[in-house]
Symmetry: C2
Subunit: 388 residues, 2 copies
């Protein structure tokens, strides 16, 4: 990385639909609701949007049509819209590309939208929870992450009871969040006694299949004050792609994901963050499975490899902990419509940094982190946001 | 458009596979050949590549895995790779996003790759030439473009014989190009007597289904001289998305595509081009069908609406004309692997601007244009390149 886009771009508006079984809303409906919420929040009208980036993994009507679908849904015609897709980091990478475009000086104000519709499309549920078409039969997302989780648990003595605490924490946070998919508490015993999906993951160790959309309006940082005083600055972005076949990589130790280590390293270097656990005040971290959150604590540099369990056991990542993680409820409780998730995390961190988190608000955060990992482990994207 | 990225980014290397029925090469094989040709051309080693953009419409192994596939194919690990998809403008928009990223100051040197594998994937041929899954039965790409072509021919008196001249020209150019898919001349009579695909388009009015990959290495313009003296500057980029349902748009007159008018307008404004037909010396223009090239002449501002036939009738777009169009052979003869095409056009224009076009070299070009339209008409991307 040669240069930096630190402090060049600001988030001036965010929007997010209710996540869940949105049977009453189509793909385009959700994108419209999220985008117009972001326009309203930023105090802009659609005509002020000069370009857009759309993060979507499974576009509405088959591949190809995604950018034009967004143009039609928002009547955002005669300007640039780019579709970005990058596994579970799709939304975050759409945000990153929007940030780079504003930093290039070409556009003053752009829109980033993430959207996904999974619940009433035949086969989508199976695809998400079950057999990916590009993996061998039976190598499901839970199954693949479980390979690493088992190795990790064996190596570091992590137990299912500690994994359950991640689920309990994130369900607790989600129960406080009116936009979350699963707004209910769960107990450790419920998590531990749930049907096994792929050992060690029971049903409550896995994120659900969810519909949803989120959006952000970003602009040149030097223009942000025109729109609001409590704008949020982009301090760092990082993206790293490793092998798409981590389980065939002889150097893969099954104990964490290099893509997250690399992407967070890029973002921290840009943001000037030396000690993430003390400098970051709130984080939205990819918890597709309970183990993933614990391993991510380590890959994000919050704590040394093998010691992530301590953060959850000691309550340090709870809402009132010293580094609250997933105050939104996380993928576990908020839901995970793939391309929407990264932008939804930006929504949450911006909301937290503005102090607008309501019952789930963490105490006085100044710097926040957004993180997705996908693949599993093939790609990771990290964004650092902060108050000006 | 608020700012500009004019003269901030340079192309220092390009590469391209043979396009065609590449039954001996897989998706990744082609990406590797194109990328390493571009590395060699630029005089860089893969480790110098700081980030990459991949334009692909139909990724190798289903959606999701595209960026990681490229990382694996090129062993380009632990750095950013973004997949971009935007109908038939996929490759050009990947190039545009790479340009914006370099212009942001974050990266010095990045790679853009476009790749597509259509010829030995069951169903892909049908998808390309026949029924798109998101259109109604029978509303094929040829059928949809034919709706506009028929209206245009009725309105402006364009004949099939004039359409045939586009095919003859582009096949002539492709016959001079060792990388083209269909390296053979055709006569007007052959074009006119070929089986009808969708009136007015016969077989030789339609581009083929093709495998291929192309790549470009781009860098900060102020660093370009370190790599070569004959680098090529990016003078302008433009992208415009209109409706994805142009044929349901009551304001659509079926006589041309607004997206191309808008995208070229953006690129010309940035490049400072006032009179395209005199200022642009060579152009690669989206000729998915013969009519599309003629209509594009007008939408790109080479000539007034309804008068495009004159450019082909008078030979002005031939290799020795005053504004040679598709010296490569165009989509018609070079082939059209969707995500590869835009990057392949960059390859051709860079080759022409360097004077390395061999038997298809046009005379002393200083400024060249790359143009894709997709959708049909839903999206267009334009790039203006020039000698320093």
């Amino acid at each position: 990385m040669s240069g930096s886009v630190k402090d060049k771009v600001a988030v001036i508006g965010v929007g997010c639909t209710k996540f869940g079984d949105n049977f009453d809303m189509g793909y385009e409906d959700m994108a419209v609701e999220a985008a117009f919420a972001a326009f309203h929040d930023a105090g802009v009208v659609p005509d002020e949007i000069e370009a857009a980036w759309l993060g979507t993994y499974s576009p509405s009507l088959g591949h190809g049509k995604a950018a034009a679908s967004l143009a039609d849904a928002l009547r955002l015609y005669n300007r640039p819209i780019t579709r970005v897709e990058n596994f579970c980091a799709t939304g975050t990478d759409a945000f990153r590309n929007g940030v780079l475009a504003v930093a290039s000086g070409l556009y003053d104000i752009v829109l980033v939208v993430g959207v996904e519709k999974y619940k009433d499309r035949p086969g989508r549920g199976i695809q998400r929870e079950g057999v990916h078409p590009y993996y061998n039969d039976g190598a499901t997302a839970p199954g693949l992450f479980a390979l690493a989780a088992n190795r990790y648990m064996h190596t570091f003595g992590l137990t299912r009871r500690t994994l359950a605490k991640v689920s309990v924490k994130n369900h607790h946070n989600g129960a406080l969040n009116p936009k979350a998919h699963l707004q209910r508490e769960v107990t450790e015993e419920q998590v531990l006694s749930a049907p096994i999906i792929a050992w060690p993951f029971g049903l409550y160790d896995c994120c659900p299949t969810t519909d949803g959309s989120a959006a952000a309006v970003i602009c040149r940082a030097d223009l942000a004050k025109r729109f609001r005083d409590d704008y949020i600055l982009v301090k760092g972005v990082g993206l790293a792609v490793t092998t798409g076949r981590p389980f065939m990589d002889p150097t893969f130790d099954y104990l964490g994901f290099r893509s997250t280590q690399q992407a967070s390293g890029q973002a921290y270097e840009m943001a000037g963050i030396k000690n993430p656990v003390t400098e970051i005040d709130v984080a939205e971290v990819h918890d597709c499975f309970t183990w993933t959150e614990i391993s991510n604590y380590e890959d994000l540099g919050f704590i040394a490899k093998g010691q992530g369990a301590g953060l959850i056991e000691e309550g340090r990542t709870a809402l009132d902990g010293d580094i609250p993680v997933n105050p939104s409820g996380g993928l576990k409780s908020f839901g995970h419509p793939i391309g929407a998730s990264g932008v939804r995390m930006v929504y949450e961190i911006v909301t937290q940094l503005r102090g607008q988190g309501g019952p789930r608000q963490v105490k006085d955060p100044k710097i926040g982190l957004v993180h997705n990992v996908g693949g599993p482990g093939a790609v990771s994207c990290v964004v650092v946001l902060a108050q000006p």
